[in-house]
């Protein structure tokens, strides 16, 4: 009995590893095609990722991992409850703006709590933003993929407008820096000096664990998953499935919004630039969630993988143009996200082999 469980988990892990390996080979091929002389050195740096220049590179990797861990959780949590939240980008930027607004305007708050208020404000903003898609899905049966993707655009332009109207740095065409709401760097300051990583990473890990506990250990998570798997059966059992769909979406939005705050309240001079671009961190949440099969604990590791590759890409910049590096990272992620397909091929192969042996 217990053996079956282990085998299943083993298969999943094995499939993920195989997918990542295929992705890496494809990435290497791209480097070889572009510039054979630098390919292997470049590939080495990509593989070393966060270990290129310890300890600094490792700190950078954690810094990179922080926001996508949250957007990954946002997408993954929605997946687990039967929703496809493709609007994490919009929720992310709305959350980011709320955090900056609080950081710039609410100067009456003491620094020790200003950043916490910023994080909470971002969560509320993200939740309300995603709640629109949730409510439309629950009460009007409008597909959340459509509403959330359209709200990405609305979010970007709305935030641009609000930045200009409230917290604008005209000379640089971006948001002002917060005055006293910065996430403290805590012990990371000693571990990884001169890097961006801050206590927000600890917050992210704690949130991942909380989300896992909610989904797996509580009656609330039980209801959410029941609605996600079979809305009709949940309703039959007396679960208020409409309310749960809205709540699911709002929690997903709060997670993405928190991701925005964790990026824009770091003391590294990141600002919301007034440009018409949808933030990538939101979309990156999708492969992060897929790679981990939406398991919150798995997402901690899959977000690290993506951050690892991106950090490696940074150290490749002396060898390759950034476009090629981005293509390589994308291809690796692209293939890695095929873990599910690899798994089913693997199962088919094992079944055939098993059939012949018997």
């Amino acid at each position: 009995m217990f053996k079956n469980v282990n085998q299943e988990a083993l298969k999943t892990i094995f499939a993920s590893v195989v997918s990542i390996l295929i992705g890496l080979i494809m990435g290497l091929l791209i480097l070889l095609v572009t510039d054979p002389s630098n390919a292997f050195l470049g590939f080495q740096r990509a593989l070393l990722g966060g270990f290129n220049r310890l300890p600094r590179s490792f700190g950078e990797m954690l810094y990179q991992a922080t926001p996508i861990l949250l957007t990954g959780l946002s997408v993954g949590f929605a997946f687990k409850t039967g929703l496809f939240n493709i609007g994490a980008s919009g929720q992310f930027i709305v959350g980011g703006f709320a955090a900056i607004f609080i950081g710039v305007r609410w100067t009456f708050l003491p620094p020790s709590i200003a950043w916490i208020v910023g994080l909470l404000g971002a969560m509320v903003a993200g939740a309300l933003w995603a709640g629109i898609s949730g409510a439309l899905k629950a009460y009007r049966n409008v597909n959340e993929v459509i509403t959330s993707i359209m709200l990405n655009y609305v979010a970007v332009f709305l935030v641009n407008f609000l930045v200009v109207a409230t917290v604008f740095n005209q000379t640089r065409n971006e948001s002002l820096s917060p005055t006293n709401a910065f996430i403290p760097r805590g012990f990371f300051n000693d571990l990884f000096p001169r890097t961006g990583v801050h206590m927000g990473y600890v917050v992210a890990i704690v949130v991942a664990i909380i989300i896992w506990i909610i989904l797996e250990k509580t009656t609330f998570g039980f209801e959410l998953r029941a609605v996600g798997f079979n809305r009709h059966a949940a309703r039959y059992a007396g679960v208020n499935e409409k309310r749960n769909i809205v709540l699911s979406m709002m929690i997903a939005g709060a997670l993405a919004g928190l991701g925005g705050a964790l990026l824009y309240l770091s003391a590294t001079g990141v600002h919301i630039e007034v440009v018409d671009v949808i933030p990538l961190q939101g979309f990156n949440g999708i492969p992060v969630a897929l790679l981990a099969s939406s398991n919150p604990i798995g997402i901690i590791f899959s977000s690290l993988l993506l951050a690892h590759l991106n950090t490696g890409g940074f150290y490749m910049q002396t060898l390759f143009p950034t476009e090629i590096i981005n293509i390589m990272v994308s291809v690796i992620i692209y293939f890695s996200a095929f873990a599910m397909i690899t798994k089913s091929i693997l199962e088919k192969y094992l079944k055939q082999k098993g059939g012949k042996n018997a």
Partner: protein
């Protein structure tokens, strides 16, 4: 030629399961050969082997006394083997004619030539009495006609070995009778039929011989005329089964469910699905709602259980008006519901058995504290129900609901719904798609619940079940109650007249 099909010593193994263990099936020309077995006995696997969907590990197949290898359904088709699947394989947006010729169309210069095909389809349908409209869209025609289209597909391809996989499961009594006539006509015209079923009445009615499978093993083949239903069911289940239900006279007491002037809107705006229906179910009785599918029974149940809001009328449970209560409020005040569609409403198939068994009680004090699930208590409770209700589940509480057989899924729902102290149980077609053993079990449980003083409302389409299990019958036709009958004093014929709307009691809408 003695046998048209011989499947000798077929063994098919799936990882962990021997689906067919040295099974032999020999079908004579021009016979209806029934293949009988419970769900999971290996009937479908054996037919999939014959149809080329699976390759057996062992055994040989002979068609018309020649050994053959069937690697895919095209091979089977070339050998003259055709199959009507349980779930029809039709393109819903195509016409009847288009579906029949699909895959073997005649073309000239790349243009479809339908004229000859059309004539042939019409000729075939006349020859075999298969009433169809060649130009109707599949989505517009009845399930019975869809089945006739499937039969015509086989005939159009000149198949003469016809496999029918549980063909009667989706049909009304009248349609079943018609199908039986068609099957007899087919063999008189030289076809041979394999008839997969677990309904003994139907085997008695049409089959010449019957082969029985049990848990993947071949039990034997007998002549239907020389055997009885009891013998067949014993071969199938492996123990004697009583086909008649032992139950004492009902002793109804106080009213539990009181429905008054209930009206429920239908899918079409202009017509109500349930129209001004009133009835009472008392403690200690089984009231059965009989009727042909789609006459408002589903909507009636949805309104009682709260899944759909009624348009008018009141519903009282134990004297309390629950007309506007939420589903959860009804469920915790003594209403249990065995739903019509166990996959849509009854179970979360992705959940394991423990989670499914807790679906209605996960919020109770026993199974959670402060919002945290008590896993040990949940598993313990699940294992207790698994033993008590004899639910066959390989990994006990951890078994994935999807991997269980239909009968065991239903037992799980029954266990969950019966074990939360209901005062009223509504069971909608609780035995649909189940085998004899499971049907016997479910019926016994319903009677047991009744004897324990629970009010039971049974919705059934099966006349046997209606007459066998109920203490009182009301018949629904086009959303109205058209009659109240006493099962001891009525017959299948009389019931059929009420069900088809040919007979109505005056004042029947208030019983």
């Amino acid at each position: 030629m003695e046998y048209v099909i011989e499947m000798l010593n077929i063994t098919k193994i799936f990882p962990g399961v021997v689906a067919n263990d040295h099974v032999t099936l020999q079908v004579k020309p021009k016979e209806i050969h029934a293949l009988l077995g419970e769900n999971g006995a290996g009937k479908s696997t054996l037919m999939s082997v014959l149809f080329g969907l699976y390759q057996p590990e062992e055994g040989i197949i002979k068609i018309r006394e020649k050994e053959v290898k069937i690697s895919n359904p095209n091979d089977a088709n070339n050998l003259g083997i055709g199959m009507v699947h349980q779930h029809f394989k039709l393109v819903h947006t195509f016409t009847v004619l288009q579906n029949i010729v699909l895959g073997i169309e005649d073309t000239q210069y790349g243009v479809l030539q339908m004229k000859e095909a059309r004539q042939r389809v019409i000729d075939l349908s006349n020859q075999y009495g298969l009433r169809i409209d060649p130009d109707a869209l599949i989505e517009d025609i009845s399930v019975g006609m869809q089945q006739r289209v499937e039969i015509l597909k086989m005939l159009y391809r000149n198949n003469d070995i016809l496999i029918f996989d549980e063909p009667t499961a989706v049909l009304t009594p009248q349609e079943i009778e018609e199908l039986m006539k068609i099957m007899k006509l087919l063999i008189s015209e030289g076809k041979s039929i394999i008839f997969i079923t677990h309904k003994l009445n139907e085997i008695k009615a049409v089959a010449d011989r019957v082969s029985v499978l049990r848990q993947g093993k071949y039990i034997g083949t007998v002549n239907v005329s020389e055997t009885s239903k009891e013998q067949m069911s014993e071969m199938m289940v492996g123990r004697p089964i009583s086909l008649t239900l032992d139950k004492e006279e009902a002793k109804p007491t106080t009213p539990v469910l009181e429905v008054a002037n209930l009206t429920v809107a239908g899918h079409h705006q202009h017509k109500d699905a349930v129209n001004n229906v009133s009835f009472t179910v008392r403690a200690g009785e089984i009231l059965c709602v009989a009727g042909i599918e789609g006459n408002g029974q589903s909507e009636l149940v949805f309104a009682i259980t709260g899944l759909v809001k009624q348009k008018g009328g009141t519903i009282k449970l134990n004297g309390k008006d629950i007309s506007n209560s939420s589903i959860r409020e009804r469920n915790v005040s003594g209403l249990s519901h065995i739903p019509e569609d166990r996959h849509k409403h009854g179970l979360v198939l992705e959940f394991d058995l423990a989670e499914n068994l807790a679906l209605q009680t996960y919020f109770s004090k026993d199974l959670q504290s402060n919002g945290f699930i008590k896993f040990d208590a949940r598993t313990k409770r699940a294992n207790q129900l698994i033993d008590q209700y004899d639910i066959r589940a390989g990994r006990r509480a951890k078994t994935n609901a999807r991997s269980m057989s239909g009968g065991n899924q239903q037992k799980a729902i029954v266990a969950r719904e019966f074990e939360r102290n209901p005062s009223f149980i509504v069971a909608v077609q609780p035995t649909r798609g189940l085998d004899v053993g499971a049907i016997e079990y479910i019926h016994k449980q319903l009677v047991k619940a009744r004897d324990a003083g629970i009010a039971v409302l049974l919705i059934s389409l099966e006349l046997n079940e209606v007459l066998e299990v109920s203490d009182r019958i009301i018949v629904m036709y086009e959303g109205e109650v058209v009659g109240e009958l006493n099962p001891k004093q009525t017959t299948q014929q009389e019931l059929g007249l009420y069900m088809s709307g040919s007979k109505k009691d005056k004042e029947a809408s208030h019983v």
